[in-house]
């Protein structure tokens, strides 16, 4: 990348994040209720005026919205993501505990889903319109159609009844403590996420492959007398790589944003659960900063994908 490109990329990224921060801030305050009602529930109704003012001052919600917003922004820029009104923990430490779980889940789901999706996509596209293609496409549609909560619940039920195994019975074991125990807990939720992942990647792979298979250079490759497997991998699939990589990057980015339902079903203390609990508790600081961090990660993943294009396609490399 040239210096100019880098500057415009970084500038665009910062603008995106600024926009995200405004939206999150406004949406959160547009929700009915506030930190006080979340904390005290119906009891907040019996607070007298002075008590309420004191609490509002404590939570910092007595200040004008603009002041609240810029106060938060200033803190974030100085590396302070805020403190949870609910638990009193710093958001940084909460994210430090939750992010590794979500990142691991996303990586596992991608490692399972992406190769399966590419493999099935090529399998389907190599014989378009034939039973194999129709079978794979049908399976993908099913994989997309079944919601994660159904797939996850069924998986938990089957594991429990058939094998007497309860993936969410014990406490969560971090990867750093025991790799095998951790993977034993993570593999099932990862597999649930991988189903839809593979289905989406399969569809993109299939259409990109079919488009590339019609290209003139594929006929040139066949005209050389190359083995069909080499034509498929080296010429067709390689050229179909950019849309496939793009969709994998986007999906991976989504997963990094937390997978609320699957984390909930499998009782994983990831970012999705952190965010869900924070929203339920009107824990402004946690929601705001977590969403901002998720957005930053998403944008970063996209940047990495952009850089990978350059590895994949020499035409992007020069400019």
């Amino acid at each position: 990348m040239t210096g100019k490109e880098i500057r415009s990329r970084v500038g665009g990224t910062l603008l995106t994040l600024l926009g995200v921060s405004v939206v999150v801030f406004i949406v959160l305050r547009a929700l009915p209720g506030d930190a006080i009602t979340a904390k005290l529930g119906t009891e907040s109704g019996v607070l007298d005026h002075a008590q309420r003012q004191a609490l509002e001052h404590y939570y910092g919600i007595d200040q004008p919205l603009l002041a609240q917003y810029f106060g938060w922004l200033r803190a974030v820029l100085s590396g302070n993501l805020g403190v949870s009104a609910d638990s009193g923990q710093s958001v940084t430490s909460m994210l430090a505990a939750a992010l590794p779980v979500t990142v691991e889940l996303a990586v596992l789901a991608t490692l399972l889903g992406a190769p399966a999706g590419v493999f099935l996509g090529v399998l389907a596209a190599a014989r378009p319109g034939r039973p194999r293609d129709i079978g794979v496409q049908g399976a993908a549609l099913l994989g997309l159609a079944i919601p994660e909560f159904v797939l996850g619940s069924v998986l938990v039920a089957v594991l429990a009844s058939a094998f007497g195994y309860f993936p969410n019975a014990g406490a969560f074991v971090p990867l750093t403590e025991s790799v095998s125990a951790n993977l034993g807990q993570m593999i099932y939720p990862a597999a649930v996420l991988a189903v839809a992942f593979a289905a989406i990647v399969m569809r993109t792979t299939r259409s990109a492959y079919l488009e590339m298979a019609r290209a003139d250079f594929v006929r040139t490759a066949q005209g050389k007398g190359l083995a069909p497997s080499r034509v498929r991998l080296r010429h067709v699939l390689h050229n179909a790589g950019i849309p496939i990589l793009t969709i994998i990057g986007i999906q991976f980015g989504y997963l990094l944003g937390g997978t609320v339902i699957v984390e909930q079903i499998f009782a994983l203390p990831g970012v999705g659960r952190l965010l869900l609990n924070a929203i339920l508790n009107h824990d402004y600081a946690v929601v705001q900063s977590t969403v901002l961090v998720i957005a930053a990660i998403f944008v970063l993943v996209n940047l990495v994908v952009d850089l990978l294009y350059r590895v994949l396609d020499p035409r992007v490399r020069i400019s």
């Binding site: 005209g223 083995a227 080296r234």
Partner: protein, 326 residues
């Protein structure tokens, strides 16, 4: 001269939901070692599908339905997929119309030449050496540098030279050139034409040059086959075809080329109308609706390729008879 390639009664059809649409109908020709045969016709005349049938590269849905394609003493149509691949790229090679799309954009040029050689049994080292030789042979300067380049870093003419280098790297006995100059600048066209002709002469390679441009044909082809609606309508030495075209379609094509000084202008100035849809050929001669001299007989029976010395033409009322009739 011994024939490198002998095609007899080749028929190819595109299979559709409503049945087979014949696109190549009983075409026969031979190419000798060191000879260039031009196949001429409008788009849709079946010339490219004839070439792809010979190569075994027909698109999905198209199939050879009859005839034989003999390369030396083997009938290629009788070979299995693996044996056919061993011939393709090694003994039979092809160059294509558009060099910008004929090369893989993500592979270095050298790798694209090398993989051909590797597929046909050269060792990695031999393939590397031969790749540089081939790039040099097609007149590319600094082959080492070109081998490391990606296609988008080269000009159109250079890319076509690369495509030619891929084709001739294995020293094929026959090269099929499917309008390889159409997409290029006029000056580059001449260079590519001269290059293929030099390679033919140097290595005794047979060449089939497919084109709709008769100016090209006159310069390089010893013999010419004119195709119309999937059939050969006139075959002969190029010089004879030019001097006295027998089929009104050939005459029409020649009429649409500015005549060289001193040659007699053929009687037709242009060909009106459109070539017929291969799925709905008119009864009798398929050229009849566009022919200025069609007779009752032309509507009744499609003429076979008849001897019209010194060439052959598929016409009941060949052009030289018109002047007598008038």
């Amino acid at each position: 001269m011994s024939a490198v390639l002998e095609v007899a009664e080749l028929s190819t059809a595109i299979l559709t939901a409503t049945g087979a649409r014949p696109v190549v109908r009983g075409v026969s020709f031979a190419v000798a070692a060191g000879e260039t045969l031009a196949i001429v016709g409008e788009s849709g005349s079946g010339k490219t599908l004839t070439a792809l049938s010979v190569m075994g590269l027909l698109p999905d849905g198209a199939r050879v339905t009859g005839g034989s394609v003999r390369l030396g003493d083997r009938d290629l149509l009788g070979l299995g997929a693996r044996e056919r691949r061993a011939v393709r790229g090694a003994e039979l090679a092809m160059i294509y119309q558009d060099p910008t799309t004929a090369l893989n954009p993500l592979m270095r040029v050298g790798a694209q030449v090398r993989e051909t050689l590797r597929a046909h049994g050269r060792s990695a080292e031999a393939a590397r050496g031969r790749t540089l030789e081939a790039l040099d042979e097609v007149g590319l300067p600094n082959p080492e540098r070109i081998a490391r380049a990606f296609p988008h870093q080269l000009s159109g003419g250079m890319r076509q030279r690369v495509v030619i280098a891929i084709a001739v790297s294995t020293r094929p006995r026959l090269l099929i050139a499917d309008e390889p100059t159409t997409a290029l600048d006029v000056t580059v066209q001449q260079q590519i034409l001269a290059l293929v002709d030099r390679l033919r002469a140097d290595h005794g390679m047979g060449v089939i040059w497919i084109t709709h441009d008769l100016g090209v044909v006159a310069r390089i082809a010893q013999r010419t086959l004119v195709m119309y609606a999937g059939r050969a309508v006139e075959v002969g030495r190029t010089a004879d075809l030019y001097r006295a075209p027998q089929h009104p379609y050939t005459a029409g094509l020649l009429g649409s080329v500015p005549p060289a000084r001193g040659t007699q202008r053929p009687p037709l100035a242009q060909i009106g109308g459109q070539p017929p849809d291969p799925g709905a050929l008119p009864p009798g001669c398929p050229f009849r609706p566009r022919c200025p001299q069609a007779r009752d007989r032309c509507a009744a029976t499609e003429p076979p390729l008849l001897a019209r010395p010194p060439q052959q033409a598929a016409c009941w009322v060949p052009v030289p008879e018109w002047s007598r009739a008038c």
